[in-house]
Amino acid sequence: MNPANYIILSAILFSLGAIGVLVRRNAIIVFMSVELMLNAANLAFVAFARMNGNLDGQVAAFFVMVVAAAEVVVGLAIIVTIFRSRRSASIDEPNLLKY
């Protein structure tokens, strides 16, 4: 098996995450799709680290995880705040910044 298969798997997961971001309306599900995309990127990092024979890819994946965690924290806090005032978790709801 070609080690590139891992990369192909990463690409497929990434595209599925992109579809999830664009098609779903619930803010939490959109967020989870973003997490899926980040995970796909992590998989690609790890596979390349193995292919290249050094651990830099794994360190990069590590940092991605840390940043993703911080992002989730803040993002969910924002969703909660919006939900408190608007009583809705749809991302189509706040659409006032328009023409």
């Binding site: 497929i12 999830g20 779903r24 997490e35 989730v72």
Partner: protein
């Protein structure tokens, strides 16, 4: 592992397939909680794949941080927002669904074609040597973190602190009215409507003392107040078995 052996291949196809299945479940589920569970499935499978790629540390961190902390955080927020929240299937933006699918599929094809074409003859170097330098994968990552990537490390730690503060600020509820004092709470309790005292707790019987078992009023009828409201609303009140009550009374010597 410089080459991919058969065992790894099986692991790849199995875990990879489950990961794709989880991703599909994420984007196709109606209920948000179901989506969360599918995502957790994907993440665990990805952890397995990390381990297969000689990244045991990352695999464990994936399980602990991602699946454990991040997904649990998602579920908590889902509880706040409402577990029942579900999307309607009708798309409100014109053409969004079609264009999104076309673009994403196109992106996948491009990436696969591009990367596949570039990696056909690549032989993976493998991480045996890199892991062996410091005596293990964890040590190797630690060396890199604290030497080459030190600044990034410090910056991300600052980021984490900032994120925590940000969450506290955002989730903070501002108190608009002054806090009610003990005196006011008592007054409100006794002068307002509602029961001033404690509600009766549920009945305690030899065989049943669960929350859904009502207590008996002096005239033998069950007290609806002794059962939590949601259970009453759902109709989950357990009927009292009077046979047991009479049995106990007879044992008791008829003292009422």
């Amino acid at each position: 592992m410089t080459e991919v052996n058969l065992g790894e291949e099986i692991v790849f196809w199995f875990s990879g397939g489950l990961a794709v299945l989880g991703a599909l479940g994420l984007i196709l589920s109606r209920k948000a909680v179901h989506s969360a569970l599918w995502v957790a499935l994907t993440m665990i499978n990805l952890a397995v794949l990390y381990v297969a790629n000689s990244a045991p540390f990352l695999g464990m961190v994936q399980v602990v941080v991602y699946t454990g902390a991040v997904m649990m955080l998602f579920l908590f927020v889902l509880m706040v927002v409402g577990v029942d929240s579900s999307d309607s299937l009708i798309e409100t933006l014109k053409g969004q669904r079609l264009v999104a699918i076309v673009l994403a599929v196109g992106l996948a094809i491009l990436l696969v074609a591009g990367i596949g074409a570039g990696l056909t003859d690549v032989v993976p170097v493998g991480l045996d040597e890199a892991n062996g330098v410091d005596g293990g994968n964890v040590q190797g990552i630690a060396r890199l973190l604290f030497t080459d990537y030190l600044v990034a490390f410090e910056v991300t730690s600052a980021l984490l602190i900032t994120a925590a503060l940000g969450a506290m600020v955002l989730a903070h509820r501002e108190r608009w009215l002054p806090r009610a004092s003990q005196e006011e709470l008592s007054k409100a309790r006794f002068t307002g409507t509602g029961h001033p005292g404690n509600l009766p707790s549920s009945g305690t019987y030899a065989r049943h003392n669960a929350v859904d078992t009502p207590a008996l009023l002096p005239d033998g009828s069950p007290s609806a107040q002794s059962i939590p409201g949601p259970l009453v609303a759902r109709g989950d009140v357990r009927p009292v078995d009077h046979h047991d009550v009479e049995q106990i009374e007879s044992l008791d010597g008829g003292s009422k």
